[in-house]
């Protein structure tokens, strides 16, 4: 009984074992089915996912094209340096990580500030530098501790460098980190793929205008990455193509001398080669150091640059608009000759004022200049002559003629954001003002236009361009800074603006008459003191712009009030017979053109024509006066 009982019990136990065994088989079959599903049926899908995990296409950023002057002087180049970068999306406690990194490499408070600023502005998942230009020792130290910092890595990056520092900053411009607006431009150009991996973009000057020439073609590396996203080895590589080089029409040495001639004064100088339209020098002082922008400028410097009353970030050559003052007179005279309103020898009697509509327009010389013909009107800068002439020509004739010379319109120079200035006309006034009573042009307003005051407001580049057109006998070239672009791969050069855009058809005898008078300015007129003893013949015209009538958004009332001295202007070309250089100068609050602007022109022309280097900034000639004045 006992035995049978235990036998029965054993049977029951064995059935349970069998059940358990069956359960095991079912479960294992389930696993096998799952494996077959994953490894056979879904294999392709998971194979792709594994490859996607493993292989990453890493863009290889090309070298940015060089910027060199007409003589081969390098103005912007690249160098490679190690940066310590953090991918914020792959980290948790940034503060803690940066503190940890600071124990290994030198991280200054300004580096942190810059990093937080970048973080605010950055695209998602971007790798942001916490330190740039690591030393070899720092690189080695970090590598040894790299495992402690997931999401942090050393990268070899190319950096833009402007060897001259603040030199020529307004024409070179600068690059900075890509922002949303830049991304929009990249998309418009359908360059998004090519900009994968690029984190800098031209923000101003030539760097901005020629961004897509300078950038180059991004290469790609197929790399195997581990789960931390770090490259383990390279599987394949397509080399990048370096950006195209820009060769400028700028003469760096001339540019340097022109910048230095200003000393600590504010202003602008634009020098153009009349026969080509190539810009030889484009000065706007004070400058700023474009190198500050490359790594991302820190808040403090940015604030200083933007809030300085000196306005170093404004490119005065393109965005400063000034009344031309008496530098307007030679163009008025040319208009008179061309439109047949005056003959050169035709003289007026100048009592020292001009009455119009009950208003007394004064000449600066009390008692007047006596009998004044065209030559004398320019050499002595007689205002009365031009009051009358303006009245005789009428505003629309003046406006039409000056428009041909490019005044009051963008010159089309190869830098973006040029200002238009103001070329007054009846139509302009109608559009400019809102109230009906302000829309009408009054004949009296024409009078002061004749001496370059009133609504007149032009940029230095426009004045230089007008002077260059005059010097080139009316043949117009578009002013440009880049002579040619060199394709990195083929070495092929693409010339910029090689042909004139139009010939204004001035009569040679008219041009000669103006030239003769402008030569007279530098020999016996308002420019004579500045050009005393010059070993070449030069043509010039001084000008003084009244500050109170300053137009232009960049010049706020408040900053102008501090110094109400007039702006000094000067235009010139030389050698007078076959000009190789034409220029326009504005010295803000410099006083008379003869005092502050003409001496700068002398230094620049002396260097360009004779190779003479000045020992000091151009002097201010306090004794010089505008004989005619304005």
């Amino acid at each position: 009984m006992e035995f049978k009982n235990s036998q029965e019990e054993l049977e029951r136990f064995r059935i349970r074992l069998a059940v358990a065994g069956g359960f095991v088989l079912v479960c294992f079959s389930l696993l096998l089915a799952r494996f077959a599903w994953l490894q056979v049926i879904q294999h392709d899908y998971y194979q792709t996912r594994a490859e996607d995990n493993r292989i990453s296409l890493v863009p290889v950023v090309p070298n940015r094209g060089l910027i060199i002057d007409r003589n081969g002087v390098v103005l912007a180049n690249d160098y490679s340096a190690y940066t310590l970068e953090i991918i914020p999306s792959k980290t948790h406690n940034l503060e803690q990580i940066i503190d940890g990194l600071a124990e290994l490499v030198d991280i200054q408070p300004k580096d942190r500030k810059r990093f937080w600023k970048l973080l605010e502005e950055s695209r998602n998942f971007e790798s942001l530098p916490i330190r740039t230009r690591l030393t070899d020792a720092e690189v080695a130290k970090f590598i040894a501790h790299r495992y402690r910092f997931p999401g942090v890595d050393i990268k070899a990056r190319l950096f833009r460098q402007y060897p001259g520092g603040p030199f020529a900053s307004h024409l070179l411009g600068y690059i900075g980190r890509v922002n949303d607006r830049d991304l929009g431009k990249i998309e418009d150009k359908e360059q998004s793929a090519n900009y994968r991996g690029t984190d800098h973009f031209g923000k101003a000057g030539l760097e901005q205008h020629y961004e897509f020439e300078l950038h180059g073609i991004t290469g790609f590396e197929q790399v195997e990455v581990d789960a931390g996203g770090r490259a383990v080895r390279t599987l394949a590589r397509t080399a990048p193509v370096a950006g195209n080089n820009l060769t400028l029409t700028i003469d760096a040495e001339l540019q340097r001398i022109a910048e230095q001639a200003f000393g600590s004064r504010r202003g602008s100088l634009v020098a153009i080669e009349p026969a080509t339209g190539g810009i030889l020098a484009l000065v706007s002082v004070p400058n700023y150091d474009p190198n500050m922008f490359v790594d991302g400028i820190d808040t403090q410097n940015w604030k200083e640059l933007n809030e300085s009353p000196e306005k170093p970030m404004v490119n005065r050559a393109l965005n400063g608009t000034y009344p031309p003052g008496s530098t307007f007179k030679p163009f008025m005279a040319l208009a008179a000759l061309t439109l047949g309103k005056r003959r050169p020898e035709q003289a007026i009697s100048d009592p020292g004022f001009f009455n119009f509509g009950g208003h007394h327009f004064r000449d600066d010389k009390k008692g007047g200049h006596g009998m004044v013909d065209m030559y004398k009107s320019i050499v002595q800068s007689c205002d009365t002559y031009y009051y009358m002439l303006a009245n005789d020509l009428g505003i629309d004739n003046i406006s039409r003629f000056m428009g041909q010379l490019g005044l009051g319109q963008r010159t089309g120079i190869d830098i973006d954001g040029e200002s238009e200035g103001v070329l007054p006309s009846q139509e302009w006034k109608r559009k400019r003002f809102k109230k009906p009573e302000q829309k009408k042009w009054f004949a009296g307003e024409t009078i002061s236009i004749g001496i370059g005051q009133g609504y007149n407001a032009y940029t230095p580049i426009q004045l230089a361009q007008a002077t260059a057109i005059l010097a080139n006998n009316g043949v117009v070239f578009r002013p440009h800074l880049v002579k040619f672009v060199t394709d990195t791969r083929s070495g092929e050069r693409t010339l910029i603006e090689p042909r004139p855009i139009r010939d204004l058809g001035f009569k040679t005898e008219h041009i000669n008459e103006i030239r003769r008078a402008m030569v007279g300015v530098n020999v016996e007129g308002t420019g004579a003191r500045a050009f005393a003893g010059a070993e070449y013949t030069s043509a010039g015209k001084t000008g003084t712009a009244q500050v109170y009538s300053l137009k232009g958004a960049e010049y706020k009332e408040s900053s102008v009030r501090k110094d109400l001295r007039d702006h000094a202007l000067f235009i010139a070309f030389a050698p007078a017979e076959v000009p190789t250089i034409a220029l326009a100068i504005v010295v803000e609050n410099g006083g008379f053109g003869a005092q502050a602007a003409a001496p700068i022109a002398r230094q620049v022309l002396d260097y360009y024509l004779l190779g003479k280097r000045p020992k000091a900034p151009a002097p201010v000639d306090e004794a010089a006066v505008e004989e005619g004045g304005e």
């Binding site: 056979v40 194979q47 493993r54």
Partner: protein
């Protein structure tokens, strides 16, 4: 007896040494260990030596246990259980916290994980319990057994260590199942469990809930909690039929597989050896389990039978839960791949089980005779 020591020599010594060892079980285990070494050599070569040392220690433990006759083990059942229970209480009171769970007890000279001991102590005690009740156990006995089982399970689950708690629960349940718990009651319990599931849900820790949610939708959080499952599934799937080859698995070698030397080592193996390798591994486990069930079927006493059956099924539970979670059909709980995953404690526990099976097999005739 005296002449036994003379010149019979090495052969005799070897015979004695290997006498308690069951050859089929040893061969299957050996093959599994060989595979384990290959896997460790790929997943974490730097840990290979220390794992080999763990294997050596575990083998010694196995050999020692293989020699202890079941009746002796039965005497040890209650003390071991009580020690285990006390240690669990000590952990709850003074244990070290690691990775958010209180699992370890610092004994001064070593850190011990008492929950591991319970995996063997539990079936040992319950087998002893039913042996004492002899013949047909009554319902009240099953109730008492359930209390003995749930006490340590609750302590372990509170640490919290859901994986181990489930394994201990399973180990105890197998004993009860083999002891003859009626099908009706089991069905009733299953229904009750389903009904209680929503309530249990509220008792789970956040991370445990997340693991269950993750199981059903790993892509919801691909870089966070779903990462483990997604990456291990990719590893397995990309392995294909033949695998990528030893040490050629990109998921494994490029560190996409997390915990690849411990709980997720199967993903490494599966990626590198493919469906064929998986088949081989499943076969070896099936053979091991089959041999274990056979030993249970032929065991001499109720105690031996229950113990052998439960230990065998523990192996199954380990293997199934681990491979199930790595391949994404079970939630992620901390269960190692038996005999393969890195870690000395688990290895010693499992080899102890094998040693006990061998002892039971070696003593199968004693009582019946």
């Amino acid at each position: 007896m005296n002449h036994g020591f003379s010149f019979v020599g090495v052969r005799d010594l070897a015979r004695r040494l290997f006498a308690p060892i069951d050859l089929p079980l040893m061969m299957i285990t050996g093959l599994l260990v060989l595979l384990a070494i290959a896997m460790m050599g790929s997943a974490s070569p730097e840990r290979l030596n220390s794992q080999l040392l763990n294997v050596a220690v575990a083998l010694v433990v196995m050999r020692v246990l293989a020699q202890i006759p079941p009746p002796r083990l039965m005497h040890l059942a209650v003390p071991i259980y009580l020690v285990g229970l006390l240690l669990l209480i000590a952990v709850a009171l003074f244990g070290d916290v690691s990775k958010g769970a209180r699992r370890w007890l610092n004994l001064g000279f070593m850190r011990a994980q008492p929950s591991e001991l319970m995996k063997i102590a539990m079936p040992l005690l319950l087998a002893w319990f039913f042996q004492k009740r002899e013949a047909m156990p009554r319902l009240r006995d099953f109730g008492l057994a359930a209390v003995l089982l749930l006490l340590p399970v609750a302590l372990i689950a509170r640490q919290p260590d859901l994986g181990t708690a489930l394994l201990v629960l399973a180990a105890g349940f197998y004993v009860i199942f083999f002891a003859g718990l009626s099908w009706k009651i089991m069905a009733g319990m299953a229904v009750a469990a389903l009904a209680a599931a929503p309530m249990a849900w509220t008792l789970l820790h956040d991370y445990q809930r997340n693991r269950i949610i993750t199981l059903f939708d790993p892509e919801k959080d691909p870089l966070g909690k779903g990462f483990h499952i997604i990456q291990s599934t990719i590893a397995i799937g990309s392995g294909g039929i033949l695998g990528k080859g030893w040490r050629e698995g990109t998921q494994a070698q490029l560190e996409f597989i997390p915990e690849r030397h411990t709980d997720f080592i199967f993903a490494v193996y599966s990626e590198e050896f493919g469906l064929l390798g998986n088949g081989l591994l499943l076969t070896l486990y099936a053979l091991l389990i089959g041999r274990g069930l056979m030993i249970a079927a032929n065991a001499a006493t109720l105690f031996s039978r229950l113990l052998a059956g439960a230990i065998t099924m523990i192996f199954f539970t380990y293997a199934f839960v681990n491979m199930g979670m790595v391949s994404g059909i079970l939630p992620v709980v901390g269960v190692p791949l038996p005999l393969v995953s890195y870690g000395g404690t688990a290895l010693v526990t499992l080899f102890s089980g094998i040693g006990i099976l061998m002892s039971i097999h070696g003593n199968r005739m004693l009582v019946q005779k």
